[in-house]
Amino acid sequence: MSVLSVKEFEKIKHPVHEELAGYEGAKFGMWLFLATELLLFGVLFAAFAIFHAKYPVEFKLAHMSLDRVMGSINTVILITSSLTVALAIDAIQRGKRNRSIWFLIATILLASGFLVVKYFEYTAKFEHNIFPGNAQQVVIDHHTHQYGPVPSQWEGKQVDKNGVNLFFSFYFVMTGIHGLHVLIGMIVLTWVLVGMIQGKYTHWYYTPVENAGLYWHLVDLIWIYLFPLFYLIQ
């Protein structure tokens, strides 16, 4: 039977939270949480796939209303931000605190850039009378990007206005919830940045930085699938 020494006993009297789960435990916990996010978005992707298969003509028509350029810019922004956050973690792993701070700042700025582009995209939709649940117009000519009322026929096939409406419902809901996760990610990264500036993280303790990075990569991952499904399917 081992009786704890006074020093060991003092340590457990006031457990430091990292000492409970440890680095591996905290990382495992973060991955478990990421699993829930995958399933959360999985519902949306599943529903989107079902309706895409049900209304192929309408979805193809409606997607022309999305600005491929803005979508591509956002993709580049997010990929770059994934790179910068990975480099931020890489920096602190090597003890380079200042470098890490700059990379974190870059990530947060890129994230806000994403939201700015999203803002312009959404307002463009609203200006053309396209709202979640009530899409009154679509781009009818993909060369000129002219908007018009939803046609009853397109490319020789019947168009069900409901299908067009559903496309935009999915667009707003899925990019909206994704955007919310971008915002949450920004808040988490800012919290990590503050801690980094305060000197909380070192080359031998950077667990929260890494876990925040994992969350940010997930946000990027979801967009990697959102982008082609909404903007690129022809």
Partner: protein, 105 residues
């Protein structure tokens, strides 16, 4: 006695790895956008190609940015395998429902 310690002890990839993966992701983005301008006739083909490229990108993010390449079986199981299997079951059964209903005329 083993007490989990505070120390972060992850695998440290060379910095260059992140740069290379980042460049690869950007290149793949260019490819996927370019390919989307080509009309393959059937939408299903476009969708498939787009999803394949997306999956390649996702795999790079998972393996290198998220360090999955160096993680243990538990993280692979809980983080990837179980959610993926459940997603397939969910969408699979819903497809078997929605697209095999017999609607009386």
């Amino acid at each position: 006695m083993h007490i989990p310690t505070q120390e972060s002890r992850g695998h440290i990839s060379p910095t260059k790895t992140y740069i290379y993966v980042g460049i690869a992701l950007l290149v793949l983005t260019v490819i996927t956008v370019a390919v989307s301008y080509i009309d393959f006739g059937q939408m299903a083909i476009n969708v498939t190609i787009a999803l394949i490229i997306a999956t390649i990108k996702a795999t790079l993010v998972l393996l290198y940015f998220m360090h999955l390449k160096y993680e243990n079986k538990l993280i692979w199981s809980f983080g990837i395998f179980y959610p993926l299997v459940l997603f397939i079951i969910m969408i699979g059964m819903i497809v078997i429902d929605v697209f095999f209903r017999v609607v009386p005329k």
